[in-house]
């Protein structure tokens, strides 16, 4: 691959049952591009957690995924409420998710920590009341 490829997705914030479709699509595309299964797994887990977060907390958003020779870069941007305390949000087990979200198997305070765990770089830019952009990189 000499050029950078970019895929962009709009995430619907209303439909929990469809959350994960974008991550699934990226997983398939990376497989077709011949990316290693280790890297695909990391991207899939991190992006899926991010996608779920967008649906739970931010009523959706956009995800763009760029693939270059040396990394897969994911940029997840939403216009949700923002993250008031990033240090707290990064602690395993800390969650502000509603009880109904927990009954769906998420909201255990593992989302952001998982995103960090499975990526090589992660940056959170958040403004209260305006939204959050998370940039994650998995090296190839």
């Amino acid at each position: 691959m000499s050029e950078q490829l970019t895929f962009t997705y709009t995430i619907d914030g209303d439909d929990f049952t469809r959350a994960g479709e974008a991550s699934s699509s990226v997983k398939n595309k990376l497989k077709m591009l011949g990316v290693s299964s280790d890297a695909i797994r990391k991207v899939a887990i991190a992006m899926y957690e991010g996608e779920i977060n967008m649906v739970i907390h931010a009523e959706g958003g956009t995800i763009s995924v760029s693939v270059s020779d040396d990394a897969v870069t994911m940029v997840l941007a939403d216009r949700g409420p923002g993250i008031p305390d990033i240090d707290k949000a990064m602690q395993e087990g800390y969650s502000t998710a509603r009880e109904d979200v927990r009954s769906l198997g998420f909201g255990a305070g593992m989302g952001l920590p998982n995103m960090k765990r499975f990526t090589d770089e992660m940056q959170i830019d958040t403004v209260i009341g305006e939204g959050t952009t998370i940039t994650m990189k998995v090296y190839l």
């Binding site: 929990f16 049952t17 959350a19 994960g20 991550s23 699934s24 997983k27 299964s37 797994r41 899939a44 887990i45 899926y48 957690e49 779920i52 769906l104 198997g105 998420f106 909201g107 255990a108 305070g109 593992m110 989302g111 920590p113 998982n114 765990r117």
Partner: protein
């Protein structure tokens, strides 16, 4: 242990994937919290859960799980099964509780991945 052998040991039924019955697995993860599955599943290729919604299948897909075993008599709906079919993930259902399900498979030599 093959998926077919798991089905027999657990008195389970195939909801999808009889054609995948000869796939072999060594490591199993069990949880109802999908974020924990994503965090800790590691090399496991079978997921035991009592949670029953489409995100279970999505989670399994992200982790290349080959078989989901629903416990406590939980039955996925047609949408979930269609998703599993699309990803070639076998789906078993057993009436056993999660502890018993894990115990039976452990006795048959399966282990946790971590």
């Amino acid at each position: 242990m093959t998926i077919r052998e798991m089905k027999e040991a657990l008195d389970a039924k195939f909801l999808y994937g009889e054609e995948l019955a000869d796939l072999d697995a060594q490591f199993v993860f069990s949880a109802d919290m999908m974020s924990d599955v994503l965090a800790y599943c590691g090399k496991c290729s079978v997921l035991i859960t009592g949670l029953c919604n489409p995100q279970v299948v999505r989670t399994a897909e992200m982790l290349d799980i080959v078989c989901i075993i629903f416990v406590r008599g939980k039955l996925p709906d047609e949408n979930m099964l269609a998703l599993a079919r699309g990803k070639s993930i076998a789906v078993l259902a057993t009436d056993h509780y999660m502890f018993t399900t894990c115990g039976i498979l452990y006795e048959h030599g399966l282990r946790g991945g971590a």
